[in-house]
Amino acid sequence: MVGNGGVLYKRNAELFGRPRDQWTTVDSMIYGWSDYFKQKKEVVEKTRFKAIKESLEFHYDNSRFYNRLCKEYDFKPGDVKSLRDFVKVPMLPDTFFKEYPAEKPSEIYSWLSKISTVGLGSYNYSGKSLQGFLRWAETRLEGMVNHSSGTTGHFSFMFRDKITYQRFYFSIVKTLLDVAPTITDDPHYVYPGSPNTFLTLGRWLGEGGRIFSDSKRHFLTDREINMDIARLMSTGDARGFKDKLILLALKKAMLKGEDKMISLFEEINKKGEQAVIIGPPFQIYSIMLKMKKLGVRLDMNNSVLFTGGGWKIFEHRKISEEEFAKIVEETLGIRPKCYVDIYGMSEMNGIALSCEGRYKHLHPWIHPMVMDENEGILGFDEWGRFAFLDPIANSYPGYIITGDRVKIYDECPGCGRPGPVIDSDISRMTGAEAKGCADLMRSLMAEEFKKVETVE
């Protein structure tokens, strides 16, 4: 394994590494490349092409569903002979992952068995709760299961088997550790949210945090956000007294948690220790507002901050990443180059990190595309629907059309490094449903933000 040899890198390899004799081309990128973002463009393109070809062959041979889909399009993996042929690959819209017939464990199992490329074994879950079923499925897959925010009242589910899970986590953790100029062996890990959930963001960050020591992992709350609560939060449809009480308690826990976070930051700052902080922009912003109000100014210059999960903070005012970075430096004392925004989504096994020019650099194994309204391919420098080919996905075909509106550049206009890079002004396509765990949590705090917005 490569890495800087520090404790955290070793722990990452222990938890999420894969035996070298089982590496495929995409594994050689993930586990073999020392720096994902500093490879030669020709090498990246050649290796990515090979990785995607292997992935296409794997799903074509092992997924009954994808095999039939390819036949529907009259496509065979052998038809891909050059990069240009990627446009022929049969794609799935991200909404496809919520096409299960009913929210019942047995129905979801049967749907999943059809779309999954890996076997799930026989169904022996005896419970009725969906939350319990997700736990069962996670054990069965030896991987990870998560669900979307369910903004339309309907969740989408992503199921990662062990191979997908290991590749995904190793690459993400390594990428984030690489951002810090120097990472100590035992930094604090701070996620201002709840890890006790199957909601994508919380589930991801709770799991990724396992590389840090138990005593150094800090969360805003450990209150469980189950699917009923997530639905309640996303629809805002609190029907009875009990629902209202749940929302109130959660909001209170979040506000109380913010005070806890500020005290924690003060303590870390006082001891001069390092922290890896990660959370949605609205949540970090909320904490920073509170710090400003309390007159707390820290100097955490050896710490790193990551944001991700949607940029909606205020209803009527947009905050740019630059503006955000400035407030981060003013309140937390984290330098702009140690603050990085992440673009990702539950269906993609890769992320894009913002550079100092605030453009998002994609992981090299992801082949991005921009599509027009009718799924025709647009070139660089044009706004359209984001789609990608993801060779990491082992348990499902990772050839996805999303609802995000993006513009992609061949070369970064900010830092000049080779692309593809994504413009930071990412929004939803018209007609695409609102999406995002961060927005779900934000909706709870909407009133608090409204007050600040009015004052401003």
Binding site: F65, P90, M91, N374
Partner: protein, 327 residues
């Protein structure tokens, strides 16, 4: 012409063309019903709180009273006469047509006025087929009901009008609103690649047949980011078109038995209807809220600047393959 010949000309019999349209859709529904009895069972029970129809609490218009001497077209010519479920000589239809400018405005202006009335005042929903008059009294109806009312008003005012019926393919937004609202209807649509039937009226003005789709009220569109149809505008290049390989029929009237056939789904799949109506209602409420901030015309002007129809197929094709895996 014999009586039978006249009835045939009026389109009163379910003929080969009708069978061509229904022949593909109904067996597929029967197959789904047999293959997924639980889906049918669930469809009937589904969405128990959902509305059976979207009848407004209060009609947004007054039905004027008929007065002696009001003008109306007495012609018995094709496309001007009474047909099944569409009687232009009903007194209320005559009174309404007169109040909306029949015989005072040009054909085009009168057509535009009644189009706006039916389009905006009658709420579209998923409910059993009604006559033009009953639709007027109910204030709600399917695309076919709204079309019958519109055609009756046209004929009353001396404008020849007919039905244009086809199996439609709809853009992504419409699919999400109507088809994805219920698992049964979605499965059905995915299996066929189109919905059973949709209607747009056609009216003859200055010797030319002009398409008029009165089905969706404007409140329907802003939440979907779609432009809405104007009088004389064909929806096929906007959001709804006849699916490839399916026919289009242009009968003068609706056939006998249509009420019974179209009423069957409401007997067996009540939950499906409620689920679709819930989805349409939520969409309607969203649209109303949007129009509190922006006028209908301004919205339409703006959306037309950027709108391009999404006949995206990846989702539909994936759903179709998934549905076939079940079989």
């Amino acid at each position: 012409m014999t009586k039978i010949g006249e009835l045939k000309e009026k389109g009163y019999f379910i003929d080969v063309d009708w069978i061509r349209i229904l022949g593909r859709a109904l067996p597929s529904l029967v197959f789904i019903a047999l293959r997924y009895p639980r889906l049918i069972k669930n469809a009937n029970r589904a969405c128990p709180d959902g509305p059976q129809n979207l009848k407004p609490e209060k009609l947004p218009y007054k039905i004027p009273k008929y007065k002696d001497g009001m003008k109306f077209c007495r012609s018995k010519k094709r496309y001007l006469r009474q047909t099944h479920l569409c009687n232009p000589l009903d007194k209320e239809i005559i009174a309404l047509g007169n109040s909306l400018g029949a015989f005072q405005k040009s054909d085009w202006e009168y057509g535009e006025t009644i189009f706006k009335f039916v389009n905006e005042s009658i709420r579209v929903d998923f409910s059993p087929i009604k006559s033009a008059l009953k639709t007027l009294y109910a204030g709600h109806g399917t695309c076919v009901d709204k079309m019958s009312l519109f055609i009756a008003l046209c004929r009353m005012g001396g404008i020849p009008a007919r039905y244009k019926l086809y199996s439609p393919e709809i853009v992504e937004e419409g699919y999400n609103l109507y088809m994805a609202a219920d698992p049964l209807i979605k499965k059905w649509y995915d299996a066929l690649g189109f919905f059973v039937i949709h209607g747009s009226a056609e009216v003859k003005i200055k010797g030319e047949w002009v398409v008029c789709d009165v089905s969706g009220d404007p409140y329907h569109f802003p939440a979907l980011n779609l432009p809405f149809m104007r009088f004389g505008e064909d929806p096929s290049d906007k959001y709804l078109r006849a699916a490839e390989g399916t026919g289009v029929i242009r009968p003068e009237g609706l056939p006998f038995g249509i009420k019974f056939i179209a009423g069957l789904p409401f007997k067996f799949f009540g939950g499906t209807g409620r689920a679709i109506n819930s989805s349409v209602k939520a969409n309607y409420e969203k649209g109303k809220k949007i129009f509190e901030k922006i006028s209908i015309d301004e919205y339409d002007r703006n959306i037309r600047k950027t709108y391009k129809p999404k006949w995206a197929s990846s989702g539909k094709r994936a759903s179709k393959v998934l549905a076939e895996l079940d079989d």
